[in-house]
């Protein structure tokens, strides 16, 4: 048997050099650190179910080139920044102009701003090498990004409409893309960011993303993440969030696309009175494999976290949810609530769920629950006995399972996309009747 393999050298060669010195240094350090690490295997704790699906062959290593014809999607009404294969396409973007808001490409950053960006990246909570010493996907992003955005909101700035970041991956040949987004929301500022991951073409590609949010005192940030990429895409996403005093962060993620998707979401409640709400909806079919790993760290006292994830797996697909809540010693009066409900539509599908609680404070309210079930036969019979077709009955019941979360997505276009995607999912999943 082959011994544990390391990341091929081809993966450690970033293409473009047009970046400020601070970011070039950081990127170089990341690549050096990665050279000795092994790739995750099923023995790597946080890759137990997903390692075998991860494909990091040499043909995936090269950076996908800019494609000037890549479509921006239908979000032309609002603020949009289009990134194609990890590189910003200014001509297709529609930047908001607002006092107190700056959106800059990494290549355009002043030395000062470049060190702000490098600092955010080097402090990124999700960027620490896994305890096991294996390659961490966000480190790989750090070793490879070509471009990226630093989005800064001055204190008190309120963005009146969502900012859409369209990440288009062109899979016309094999390769990978490494978009990197940094959002620094000053005290009492407000913004909603939509990350929409789409793709075209059907060659094997990997998109490896980093998104970092720094949420200042009293700031209110909402992140919406939509994954509708094609079936040849491996999606490796990492989102890191640091929240200060009395801030609020919401995450709404919806995924139907890509063949393999891994999303690591790590929220640190660092300031007293901060609160976060993390919602996730995942539907899988065919042989898709989705893996959501979330960590919520209650560092300061009096913080509140509310997490609700729902998976629905059809055909031979596989969904994994791993939810970790870590309540630090000083985080008294923490309130944490985690719920993960799962629905298996076929006997060939698989769902694995694992809540992990580490509680070091004594005065906390912490609740968690996870269930895996199937559509209830009695419920189907009840609906069908009223004349509904078995298919309509199943669609109603399946929709009921996630509707509450879909309706909470605060951006109408994304709700619409979610409904369309779900409809396609139902058409496919319940095609037999």
């Amino acid at each position: 048997m082959k011994s544990a393999s390391t990341l091929s050298n081809a993966f450690l060669q970033p293409a473009g050099q047009a970046l400020p010195a601070a970011l070039l240094t950081l990127r170089f350090d990341r690549a050096s650190a990665l050279a000795d690490l092994i790739l995750p295997t099923r023995k790597t704790e946080n890759w137990k179910y997903s390692a075998k699906h991860l494909k990091l062959t040499d043909d995936m290593a090269s950076t996908l080139p800019m494609d000037a014809s890549a479509e921006a999607g239908d979000y032309n009404s609002g603020y949009t920044v289009v990134m194609v294969n990890g590189v910003v396409r200014p001509d297709a973007s529609n930047y908001p102009t607002l006092e107190g808001l700056s959106i800059q490409r990494f290549g355009d950053l002043s030395e000062d701003d470049a060190s702000v960006a490098a600092d955010m990246l080097s402090k990124s909570i999700s960027d620490q090498p896994a305890k096991s010493g294996s390659v961490n996907m966000s480190q790989l992003n750090g070793a490879r990004f070509e471009d990226g955005l630093l989005i800064q909101l001055q204190p008190g700035t309120v963005l009146d409409q969502p900012l859409f970041l369209i990440h288009h991956t062109t899979a016309s040949h094999s390769g990978s893309a490494y978009p990197c987004i940094l959002v620094a929301a000053g005290n009492n500022s407000q913004l909603t960011v939509v990350e929409d991951y789409v793709s075209s073409g059907d060659c094997s590609v990997m998109v490896n993303t980093t998104t970092e949010f720094s949420v200042g005192d009293g700031a209110n940030v909402t992140s919406v993440r939509l994954n509708t990429e094609g079936q040849s895409v491996q999606h490796m996403g990492t989102t890191g969030v640091r929240q200060q005093r009395s801030s609020r962060f919401e995450s709404h993620s919806v995924g139907f696309g890509s063949t393999l998707r891994r999303h690591d979401l790590h929220v640190r409640l660092e300031g007293e009175g901060a609160e976060c709400k993390l919602n996730g909806v995942v539907v899988t079919q065919g042989t898709q494999h989705y893996d959501n790993h979330t960590t919520i760290e209650h560092v300061a006292a009096n913080c509140n976290s509310e997490e609700t994830y729902r998976n629905i797996a059809a055909d031979k697909s596989h969904a994994v949810f791993n939810g970790r809540i870590h309540i630090h010693q000083d985080a008294q009066k923490s309130k944490a609530n985690m719920s993960n409900k799962n629905l298996l539509l076929t006997s060939g599908a698989e769902i694995d769920t694992k809540p992990e609680l580490e509680i070091y404070a004594d005065d906390v309210l912490c609740a968690h629950g996870a269930t895996i079930g199937q559509l209830d036969k009695q419920s189907i019979f009840y609906l069908v006995s009223r004349g509904l077709s078995p298919r309509d009955a199943k669609v109603l019941l399946t929709m009921a399972f996630i509707n509450e979360l879909v309706e909470q997505i605060p951006v109408e276009q994304v709700r619409d996309t979610a409904h369309t995607g779900l409809k396609q999912f139902f058409d496919q999943a319940f095609k037999e009747v």
Binding site: Y382, L383, V384, S385, G387, D392, L397, A400, F401, N403
Partner: protein, 255 residues
Amino acid sequence: MLSIKNLHASVEDKQILNGLNLEIKAGEVHAIMGPNGSGKSTLSQVLAGNEAFEVTEGEVTFNGDNLLDLATEERAREGIFLAFQYPVEIPGVSNLQFLRTSVNAMRKHNGIEDMNAAEFMKLAKEVSKQVDLDPAFLKRGVNEGFSGGEKKRNEIMQALLLKPKLAILDETDSGLDIDALKVVADGVNALRAPDRAILMITHYQRLLDHIVPDYVHVLSEGKIIKSGGPELALELEAKGYGWLGIDDQAAANHG
């Protein structure tokens, strides 16, 4: 309308119906009584098409068609309605959405175009008033958190909405307070029509005071062992089941 001949049915390899015969004509109201566990709900579930129950022998025709050949939803669309003894709670599916999908499935079957949301809302409000349910219930999940009596009224409301040819009411009177019993009985009486038949399963004479049946049957161990007119129910009320030769244990469970 409905003709049941020598019906045998089992659930999980347990034989429950053992050669049941019953004829119901349009316009008639039949009541079935019988001890707990005698197979009354099994009969109603078999007629509605619950696949958990297996028909092992016998035949059932509905308006001349072989009922047992029809899928559950086809039976419903042909006009069979079952008010469940235990209506199912379905959180997350709104009553309104469910009922509209149901009504439109029936309309489609009959070649009538869909009812739009506004039209439907109006109709749903009317029938909910008829069974004394606050229209706010329409917005809640199907039977979600409904009290026992509210669930039963919701069943009758559905019958009024769907206008079935054969309404099977499985203990729709159980667990109702006196006022609710009156409301449900009025609902059932409103369903009575020359082209419609009603099969009521009940343990109590008190329902039959409000809805006078044409026939009363006694079901025991999966068979109808006695049939008669409304006076049979009164006799059962007075004497229990023992005089019919039903073993005392089963009779003791009655009610």
